[in-house]
C-alpha cells in the first residue's frame, strides 16, 4: 500500500518537472520509446510514480538512467506532459539522492547556492593561483615557472582524489539503493565488468535512440574530454605535451590536443546553440544546472585553447593570465559537476547498465537453479 504524496510533485518541480500532472497515461511515450523494454518500462510508469508521489519506487529504480532523452516521447505526447523532461528531472533528483553530502540537492534546487559555490571556487582558484604562483617570465613563455609543477601537481592529485572518492562513494550509495538486499553471486560482478567498460567508453545505448547525430556529438565531446584528461595526466608525470617550447605540428601530442580541442569546442557550442534554439525535443527545456555545466565547460575549453594558442604565438603574459582563468573555470567545473550534478552521469550511466545486467543475470541464474531443482 503506497501513500499518496502530493508534495513529491512539488519537490520535483525544482528539478525541472513542471508538466507531470498533464499526463493522462495514454502510454504513447512508452510505445514510441526505442529503449523501453518489458523489463524496464518507461517513461509512462514514472509519470505515474511522480503523480502519486511514489518516492520509494523511484529511489530504487534504474530506469531514469536507462533513458537517453531522445525526445521521441515528448514529440508523441498528446498532452504536452514532456515525459522526456520528467525523466531528466528524475535523473537530477536521483543524483541529489545518491549524493551523501547534500550539496547536490542544494545545487539543483537553489540558485543562491549555485552562484555562491561557483563564485567561491572560481575566485578562490584565482586567488590561490595569483597568491602562490611563481614569477611571470616576460622574455618567453615559461608556464612552468608561473605555475610550478611541484605545487600544481600535488594540488591537482589531491583534488582529483577527493573528487574520485566523492563520486565513487555516491556510486556506492546508488548501488545500495538499486540493488538493495539482492544477493548477487560474486563471479557475476567480474563477468559483467565489460558492460561497465563498454558503456563508459561508447555510450552505445545512446546509439539506439532514433536520432544518431546526438550520439556522435556526444562521442566527440566525450572522447575529446577523455583525451584531454589523459594528456593532462600524462603531463603530470612526463611533461610530454606541455612543454615551454611548442612542439612541431606533427608531434602526436599536438595532433591529439588539436582533435580534443576541436571536438569539444564543436560539441559544446552545438549544445549551447541547441538549447537557445529549442528546436530539438531534448533541448526544449533547460534547467539552470544545464547552463551552469555548459558555461563552465565552454569557459574551460575556450581558455584551454587560448593558452595553447598564446604559447604558440609566444605571448607570455596572456598565456599566464589565461591559464589562471583556465584553472578558475576547471576547478568549479570538476569540483561541482563531477560528483554533484550533471557530469556525474559519466559514472551513473555505465554503472546503471552494469547494475541492470547484474540483476538480470542473478534472476537468470535463479531461474536456472529452479529448473534444475525441478528436473
Amino acid at each position: 500500500m503506497t501513500k499518496v504524496n502530493p508534495n513529491f510533485g512539488k519537490k520535483l518541480k525544482k528539478f525541472g518537472a513542471e508538466t507531470v500532472y498533464h499526463c493522462f497515461h495514454c502510454g504513447n511515450c512508452t510505445a514510441v520509446c526505442p529503449l523501453s523494454t518489458d523489463e524496464h518500462q518507461f517513461p509512462r510508469r514514472f509519470m505515474r510514480y511522480v503523480q502519486v508521489g511514489m518516492e520509494d519506487k523511484i529511489k530504487h529504480s534504474l530506469e531514469p538512467w536507462l533513458c537517453y532523452y531522445c525526445g521521441d516521447c515528448q514529440t508523441a505526447c498528446p498532452r504536452q506532459a514532456n515525459p522526456g523532461e520528467v525523466m531528466m528531472s528524475l535523473r537530477r533528483y536521483l543524483t541529489s539522492l545518491y549524493d551523501w553530502t547534500g550539496l547536490a540537492r542544494k545545487l539543483y534546487t537553489s540558485m543562491a547556492w549555485k552562484v555562491i559555490l561557483v563564485g567561491l571556487l572560481f575566485f578562490g582558484t584565482l586567488a590561490v593561483v595569483y597568491g602562490f604562483s611563481g614569477p611571470m617570465v616576460t622574455e618567453r613563455v615559461e608556464l612552468e615557472t608561473f605555475a610550478p609543477a611541484h605545487i600544481v601537481h600535488p594540488v591537482g592529485i589531491v583534488f582529483g582524489t577527493v573528487l574520485a572518492v566523492l563520486l565513487l562513494s555516491n556510486v556506492y550509495r546508488m548501488y545500495r539503493m538499486v540493488i538493495g538486499n539482492t544477493r548477487i553471486p560474486a563471479n557475476v560482478y567480474l563477468q559483467e565488468v565489460m558492460t561497465l567498460v563498454v558503456h563508459f567508453l561508447t555510450q552505445i545505448r545512446m546509439g539506439m535512440c532514433t536520432n544518431k547525430s546526438r550520439w556522435i556529438k556526444h562521442l566527440l565531446l566525450m572522447t575529446g574530454y577523455l583525451l584531454a584528461f589523459l594528456l593532462v595526466n600524462v603531463d603530470v608525470f612526463t611533461a610530454w605535451s606541455l612543454t615551454n617550447e611548442p612542439p612541431p605540428w606533427y608531434h602526436p601530442a599536438k595532433i591529439l590536443w588539436t582533435y580534443a580541442s576541436i571536438a569539444m569546442l564543436y560539441a559544446t557550442l552545438d549544445f549551447m546553440f541547441g538549447r537557445l534554439r529549442k528546436k530539438d525535443a531534448w533541448h526544449q527545456y533547460s534547467h539552470s544546472t544545464d547552463w551552469m555545466f555548459l558555461l563552465l565547460l565552454f569557459g574551460t575549453i575556450a581558455t584551454g585553447i587560448l593558452v595553447r594558442l598564446f604559447m604558440e604565438w609566444d605571448l607570455p603574459l596572456p598565456t599566464y593570465h589565461t591559464f589562471a582563468f583556465h584553472l578558475a573555470f576547471t576547478v568549479p567545473l570538476l569540483g561541482l559537476e563531477v560528483p554533484f550534478t550533471k557530469w556525474s552521469h559519466l559514472a551513473y550511466r555505465p554503472f546503471a547498465m552494469y547494475f541492470a545486467r547484474l540483476k538480470e543475470r542473478t534472476i537468470q541464474l535463479q531461474q536456472e537453479t529452479q529448473t534444475e531443482v525441478a528436473a
Binding site: M1, T2, V4, G9, H22, R45, R48, Y49, R79
Partner: protein, 736 residues
C-alpha cells in the same frame, strides 16, 4: 368502397420488356372485370398522370397503379382525398429481382395485380378525424432549465404555453448550481449560470401562463384535447392543451445508500450536490468543524454503473466533479485534490476542461475505491487500486470526500401498479412498467404515467424517435428522458417543443403524427359484436383505447398512431380502417392463384412491415438480388396489425407458407410502434399449437426480424424458408 376502379400499368423502367403486358391487362379486364385498364410507357410523367386524371373526372374513384414501389412517387400518384390509390410493385419487387420474360415472373406480376385490385375495390377514402375544440396550447410540466427552455421556444413560435412548476420558484436544478462550464472558447472557464435571463423572458412573455407551487392532478383526453386539472395552493384550475412536454428532470441518487463510501458514517463525506451548495454560499469547508479544506477527494461513479445501485452512467457527474475540483483549486491553489474514477467521460469541448484541471495539478486515480475510513482528527482516508501504477494506494489526511452521485429520473419513483390476476396467467409479452410517480396522472386505462423501459426512464426510441414517449402528444425532454448536461438539455427542450407543435398541427388536420404523418385514417370499432375481451385496450402500445363503464373499448382517435395493432389483436375482427382492414388483406390472400400440387409451384405469402422490411425488399430489388419466384408480398402498417385469421385464410387456400418480416423486438426494439413485432411473434406462438392440432405443420409460419440494412440477407431468409417448406411438403389443402 371504391365503386369504379381502374388499373394503370406502367411499361417504363423495363417493365414492358420483362412482362407480357397484354396478358397482365387481361387479369384486370377479363378476370377482375375492370372497365378501365390502360398502360403507358411513362406513367409518372405528366402525360401518364393526365391519362389517369381524365378518367377520374369521368367518375373513377379507385386507382391501381401497377408500376414502381409504393415508397416512391407518392406525390405524383396522389389524386386528392376522394380517390383511393393502391400501388402494385412491378418494378423493385418484380422485374428487378426476378428473371425477365419468365413464366413464374409473369405469374407473380399477375398475382400482385390481382391483390392490388381487390384491395382497391374494398378501400374507401379516409375521412380525417377532427376533434372539437382543439387547443393549440403546449403544457410544459416542470420549470427547470428544460421546462423553461421548452416554454420559451414554443411561445416564441407563437403557441400559448401553460407552465407548471412544483416549487415556488422557476429554475429547478440548474439554478442551484454555483457555476457552469463555459461553452465558449477556450471552453475551460467557469461562469455564472445563465438561467436568470431565460426565466425573466418566460415571466415577461404574455403567451406563457405560469403555475408555481402547483402539480398536475389529472390529464384526460388526448392530443389536441387534453383536459388538464392543475392543483395550486389548495385550489384547482382547468386548462385545455394540445400537447405536453414533460420536463420534470432528475434528482441525485440517494447517497444514504452509499454507506460503503462513508456517507452517513463520517460528517466530512458529502455529495457533489452538497458541495455545490457550499460553494454557492461561499467557502468550501469541512462540515465537521468549518475549517477551510486543504485536501479533497472526489469519488466518481459513486453508486453509478453499479448493479447494486444505478446500473447506468449519468454522463455529467464527471464534468460536475471536474468543475468542483476547480472550485477547490480556485479557493486554494495549494490544496491537494484527488479524483478517483472508473472511467472518465469529458466528451467534446469538455476535454479542454479536463486538460485545465490536470494542469492545475489535480491528481487522477483510475481504479476501484476499496474503502473510505476515518483517520485522526476527523480526516478521511481513501484506499483504492491504482490501475495506472499497478499498486494499491492510500490517500490520507483528506478534509473532504465528495461523492459524485448519478441522476435518477423523477419518473422512476412510485410503485408499480399491481399486475392484474388475469394478466398473470396469460402467457404474453411482459406487461408495461408504469410507475405511479404522481407527475402526469393520466386518465388512461393502461396507467397514470408514461411506460418506462428501464431504470424508470420514459420509454422512447432514442435514435429514431427522440423526445417521443409511448403516449402520443407527450414529449419528454431533459434529464427526465436521459441524463444530460446543460447544452444537451437546451437542445432537447427545443426539440421536444417542436414535436409538441407538430403534434398540435397534425392533430388539428386529423392526421397521424410521426411516423405516419400523411395518414388521415383512424380505426373504427363496430361494437355490436364486441365481446369485451380487452385485447385491444391491453395491447395498444400507446394507450389510445380507454374503457367505458360497461368495459367496452372507448377509442381516443387523437392518441392513435394508426399502426393497426388493435386490428390485429381483435379476435372478432371488428376494428378496421377505411383503407386498411382484416377483410382487405384477407381478400388479397384469397385472390392469389395457387397452382395444383403437381405443378410444383409452391406459394409463400410474405407479410412485410412497411417501415423496415418492405424497404429492405425494395433495396434487394434495387441491388438486383434474385428472390424466390414463389413469394407474394403484402405490405402491413406494422406486424402488430397481423390478424391470425390471415394465416387461416392463407393455409385453407392452399398456400404453402407464410413469412412475416418485421422489426427487431425486445429491450433494444426497432419497431416503429414499439410493441407491434413483439405482439405478432407472441400471437404466432399461440397459433403454432392450433396448426399442429389441424395436422398442419407449424413450420409453415415463420417470423424473421430484419432491419432496412438487412436487405442482403433477404434472399437467404426466403430461400431458407422455401427449403424448409419443401421438406414439409405441399399444403394438403391445395385444390379444396
Amino acid at each position: 368502397m371504391a365503386k369504379k376502379v381502374g388499373a394503370y400499368i406502367c411499361t417504363g423502367c423495363g417493365i414492358g420488356d420483362a412482362l407480357d403486358i397484354e396478358a397482365l391487362a387481361k387479369v384486370a379486364t377479363k378476370e377482375k372485370k375492370l372497365a378501365i385498364c390502360k398502360n403507358h410507357p411513362f406513367l409518372c410523367g405528366s402525360e401518364g398522370c393526365e391519362l389517369i386524371k381524365q378518367d377520374i373526372q369521368e367518375g373513377l374513384d379507385g386507382v391501381v397503379i401497377a408500376a414502381c414501389s409504393q415508397r416512391v412517387n407518392t406525390d405524383v400518384f396522389n389524386f386528392g382525398p376522394s380517390v383511393v390509390v393502391e400501388r402494385v410493385n412491378l418494378r423493385e419487387q418484380c422485374i428487378w429481382c426476378h428473371p425477365a420474360n419468365d413464366e413464374d415472373t409473369q405469374m407473380l406480376a399477375e398475382d400482385q395485380l390481382r391483390m392490388g385490385i381487390v384491395k382497391a375495390q374494398q378501400m374507401e377514402p379516409p375521412e380525417p378525424y377532427k376533434a372539437e375544440d382543439i387547443s393549440r396550447t403546449v403544457l410544459v410540466v416542470g420549470g427547470g432549465l428544460a421546462g423553461v427552455t421548452a416554454a420559451l421556444e414554443a411561445a416564441r413560435a407563437g403557441y400559448p404555453v401553460v407552465l407548471v412548476e412544483k416549487n415556488a420558484e422557476l429554475g429547478g436544478w440548474v439554478a442551484r448550481l454555483h457555476k457552469q462550464v463555459s461553452q465558449r472558447p477556450p471552453y475551460n472557464e467557469l461562469e455564472d449560470v445563465d438561467l436568470a435571463d431565460r426565466i425573466k423572458e418566460v415571466r415577461e412573455n404574455a403567451n406563457i401562463k405560469i403555475y408555481t407551487s402547483a402539480q398536475i392532478e389529472k390529464i384526460a383526453g388526448g392530443p389536441g384535447i387534453f383536459d388538464v386539472t392543475i392543483r395550486q395552493n389548495g385550489t384547482t384550475a382547468n386548462e385545455r392543451v394540445g400537447a405536453v412536454v414533460l420536463a420534470t428532470g432528475a434528482v441525485p441518487y440517494d447517497a444514504t445508500k452509499l454507506g460503503h463510501l462513508g456517507f452517513g458514517r463520517y460528517p466530512n463525506v458529502i455529495t457533489g450536490d452538497a458541495l455545490e451548495e457550499m460553494a454557492a454560499r461561499g467557502k468550501i469547508v469541512r462540515p465537521s468543524d468549518g475549517r477551510e479544506v486543504r485536501s479533497v477527494a472526489f469519488i466518481l461513479c459513486a453508486g453509478s454503473r453499479d448493479p447494486e445501485h444505478l446500473p447506468y452512467c449519468s454522463s455529467v457527474c464527471c464534468i460536475e466533479s471536474l468543475k468542483q475540483a476547480l472550485y477547490v483549486k480556485q479557493q486554494n491553489p495549494d490544496a491537494a485534490v484527488y479524483i478517483f474514477f472508473k472511467d472518465l467521460r469529458a466528451p467534446g469541448t469538455y476535454e479542454f476542461l479536463y486538460k485545465r484541471v490536470q494542469t492545475e495539478g489535480v491528481v487522477f486515480f483510475r481504479g476501484e475505491v476499496a474503502a473510505v475510513t476515518e483517520g485522526g482528527n476527523q480526516t478521511l482516508v481513501v484506499e483504492a487500486d491504482d490501475v495506472l501504477a499497478g499498486e494499491k494506494i492510500v490517500a490520507e489526511d483528506l478534509d473532504l470526500v465528495v461523492l459524485a452521485t448519478g441522476m435518477v429520473p423523477t419518473t422512476a419513483f412510485g410503485e408499480a401498479p399491481a399486475v392484474e390476476e388475469e394478466k398473470k396467467e396469460e402467457e404474453g409479452p411482459p406487461p408495461d412498467v408504469i410507475l405511479k410517480s404522481d407527475i402526469l396522472n393520466l386518465e388512461y386505462r393502461q396507467g397514470p404515467e408514461l411506460p418506462t423501459l428501464r431504470y424508470g426512464f420514459p420509454d422512447s426510441h432514442f435514435i429514431c424517435f427522440p423526445y417521443e414517449t409511448r403516449r402520443t402528444g407527450i414529449y419528454a425532454a431533459g434529464a427526465v428522458r436521459a441524463p444530460m448536461d446543460i447544452p444537451s438539455t437546451v437542445r432537447d427542450a427545443t426539440g421536444a417543443a417542436l414535436k409538441a407543435i407538430q403534434c398540435i398541427e397534425l392533430t388539428a388536420q386529423g392526421s397521424a403524427v410521426h411516423p405516419r404523418v400523411w395518414d388521415f385514417s383512424y380505426p373504427e370499432f363496430s361494437l355490436q359484436r364486441c365481446t369485451q375481451c380487452k385485447r385491444c385496450t391491453v395491447e395498444c402500445p400507446f394507450g389510445a383505447i380507454n374503457e367505458d363503464e360497461k368495459t367496452y373499448p372507448l377509442p381516443n382517435p387523437t392518441r392513435c398512431r394508426r399502426c393497426g395493432t388493435c386490428m390485429g389483436a381483435c379476435p372478432e375482427r371488428l376494428i378496421s380502417f377505411k383503407n386498411y382492414s382484416v377483410g382487405m388483406i384477407g381478400s388479397m390472400i384469397k385472390t392469389i392463384e395457387v397452382p395444383e400440387e403437381d405443378e410444383e409451384k409452391p406459394r409463400i405469402v410474405v407479410l412485410a412491415c412497411e417501415n423496415d422490411a418492405y424497404p429492405a425488399l425494395d433495396m434487394a430489388g434495387i441491388n438486383r438480388l434474385q428472390l424466390s419466384p414463389w413469394i407474394r408480398v403484402i405490405p402491413l402498417r406494422c406486424l402488430g396489425s397481423t390478424n391470425l385469421i390471415w394465416i387461416a385464410d392463407a393455409l385453407s387456400k392452399g398456400i404453402d407458407g407464410i413469412l412475416l418480416l418485421g422489426c427487431k423486438h425486445g429491450d433494444d426494439y426497432q419497431c416503429h410502434f414499439v410493441k407491434g413485432s413483439e405482439l405478432a411473434s407472441y400471437r404466432l406462438g399461440k397459433i403454432a399449437e392450433t396448426l399442429n392440432r389441424l395436422a398442419l405443420e407449424s413450420d409453415r409460419v415463420r417470423m424473421e426480424q430484419v432491419s432496412i440494412m438487412d436487405y442482403h440477407r433477404i434472399p437467404q431468409i426466403i430461400e431458407d424458408f422455401a427449403k424448409r417448406l419443401e421438406e414439409v411438403g405441399p399444403n394438403p389443402y391445395k385444390g379444396f
